[in-house]
């Protein structure tokens, strides 16, 4: 089971709160260990710990930054796939003009319905249903195209249309794959949640060793790490959370396909 499927079930707020708890707890454990060491004679040298804690934080920062970049790439891919799909549908719609009747009207009606179904996907939770309906429409479009190709005397026009219809179908698969599989792999999540508590505990341990009280900045440290983690999860799931792929390209396309929406 991929971990992101599990993560998808939680709202972002839960993830954020859980992350804050984990980091805070690790910090506190580290702090108690450090303080206990501080009270004992012959304790560790603060300088030695300082350079190690710096590295630990450096490692965490880098890995977080790279994972963020990975998630941002996935989000971009989802956005790009939607724009490409809208363009492909538009091209197919225009090229259908070159086909003979009744296929022209038939195909244009099917394409309009296709766009409506795609737009529905962004709103409803019934993804499986939308996918099934899209694929049905694709096979109907394809049989229309094959029929038109058999009738027509100019194979070039059908050729153009078929090319663009193939693009539409390919981009459907692309959007599916991007949404379902272009995600941060489980191992990366696991590693992040291993390094994060270790880094927080080391920072806490260093604080405890100096014999001072818990600084207020520690809270900022905990919050920032948790915010970045939540942002990564949000970016990584384009259908969820506050960051979602804009459907504007598809909405605009629907407007140009001049016909009343059902």
């Amino acid at each position: 089971m991929e971990l992101y499927r599990l993560l998808d079930k939680f709202p972002m707020l839960v993830l954020f709160v859980a992350t804050v708890m984990i980091v805070l707890l690790s910090y506190e454990v580290g702090f108690q260990v450090g303080r206990w060491r501080y009270r004992r004679p012959n304790r560790e040298q603060e300088v030695v710990v300082r350079s190690m804690v710096g590295t630990m934080q450096g490692l965490l920062t880098f890995i977080l930054a790279f994972t963020f970049w990975l998630a941002a790439t996935h989000f971009d891919a989802a956005r790009q796939a939607l724009i490409n799909e809208a363009n492909a549908i538009r091209t197919a719609y225009l090229r259908a003009d070159l086909l003979p009747e009744p296929h022209r009207t038939e195909i244009r009606d099917l394409l309009r319905e296709y766009v409506d179904v795609r737009l529905e996907a962004a709103r409803s939770e019934k993804i499986e249903q939308v996918i099934a309906r899209s694929e049905e429409l694709q096979s109907q479009l394809w049989s229309q195209a094959v029929e038109a190709g058999e009738k027509v005397s100019s194979p070039y026009f059908t050729g153009y249309f078929i090319q663009s219809l193939n693009d539409v179908i390919a981009l459907h698969t692309r959007r599916l794959t991007v949404g379902r599989e272009f995600r941060i792999p489980t191992t990366i999540w696991v590693v992040l949640y291993v390094i994060m508590p270790l880094a927080a505990a080391s920072v806490g341990c260093h604080g405890g060793l100096t014999g001072t009280r818990r600084p207020l900045v520690a809270v900022a440290f905990v919050l920032i790490i948790s915010v970045v983690m939540t942002l990564i999860a949000d970016l990584d799931s384009p259908r969820k959370g506050t960051l979602r792929v804009s459907q504007q390209a598809m909405v605009d396309l629907r407007k140009t396909m001049s016909a009343p929406a059902p």
Binding site: G58, A170, T186
Partner: protein, 262 residues
């Protein structure tokens, strides 16, 4: 001796344990050497050592983090190649519909077999065999296409099909390259392990020099680095890791093709 051959041969948990042990031994070695040095260092001398250790650790963090970035983008490239291939096969399969029988059904059969071979290759891990078999099927597909061309007058349709078949063949090469050949070079592995050992030894030396006691932060740091190195090895490994490219898109294609057998 190929270093990544060695790294691939070990199971991932063994690699993790080996990394951990190597780093811990280096740490202990450094500690021993540090404690052996005569008197306690002057504060100035200690400062110099501290700076040097910080530098080595910073370099290690950079190296590990960048290699992680490289491995993650290789993983994404493998995923992308699989997805492009699925789309190309699907397009070729659809376009074969426009050819004349018997070529039409012959080509569709070959493409179905092709998908089976691709999936079987990943499932069984016998990659070399699958590659040979795939290339045979590609030759047969090509022969069929040429034969179909001689039997029809409609050159546009054949042209369309040839385009998509070429795409399938190109993407086979691309997938083989992305899967098998694009790996983290041996020299980078060598450098990562060398720096890890040196860094662990210098933390130990620093601690020994200042007569510091054993610190819980040191094992935590070593654990964090070993985890990230494990992740890099896992991301870089084409088969047999915890992270495998999800074959769902190809499985979906297989299902669709079998449903469309007409």
């Amino acid at each position: 001796m190929q270093l990544h051959g060695l790294i691939d041969a070990l199971p991932l948990w063994a690699l993790f344990v080996a990394t951990l042990v190597v780093a811990l031994i280096s740490f202990e070695g450094g500690l021993w050497v540090g404690r052996r040095s005569g008197s306690l260092p002057e504060p100035q001398e200690e400062k110099v050592v501290s700076r040097l250790v910080g530098g080595i650790l910073g370099l290690l963090a950079f190296m590990v983090a960048f290699t992680f970035g490289v491995a993650a983008s290789h993983f994404d490239a493998r995923r992308q190649a699989l997805h492009d291939e699925v789309n190309a096969i699907r397009t070729a399969y659809l376009r074969a519909d426009l050819l004349q029988d018997p070529h039409r059904s012959e080509i569709r059969n070959l493409l179905r077999k092709y998908v089976d071979v691709r999936l079987e290759g990943v499932r069984s891990g016998k990659i070399e065999e699958a590659i040979t078999r795939s290339e045979e099927l590609q030759d047969q597909l090509w022969t069929q296409t040429v034969a179909a061309r001689e039997n029809t007058s409609n050159s546009a349709v054949i042209g369309n099909f040839i385009q998509s078949l070429n795409e399938v063949i190109t993407l086979h090469t691309k997938r083989v390259l992305a899967g098998m050949k694009v790996r983290i070079p041996d020299f980078i592995w060598f450098v990562i392990y060398a720096i890890t050992m040196l860094a662990a030894a210098s933390i130990g030396y620093h601690a020994g020099l200042t007569r510091s006691r054993r610190i819980p932060v040191a094992p935590a740091l070593i654990l964090a680095f070993s985890t990230v190195i494990l992740l890099i090895a896992d991301l870089d490994r084409p088969l047999g890791g915890y992270l495998e490219v999800d074959q769902q898109a190809m499985i979906d294609l297989q299902r669709k093709m079998n449903a469309q057998t007409r």
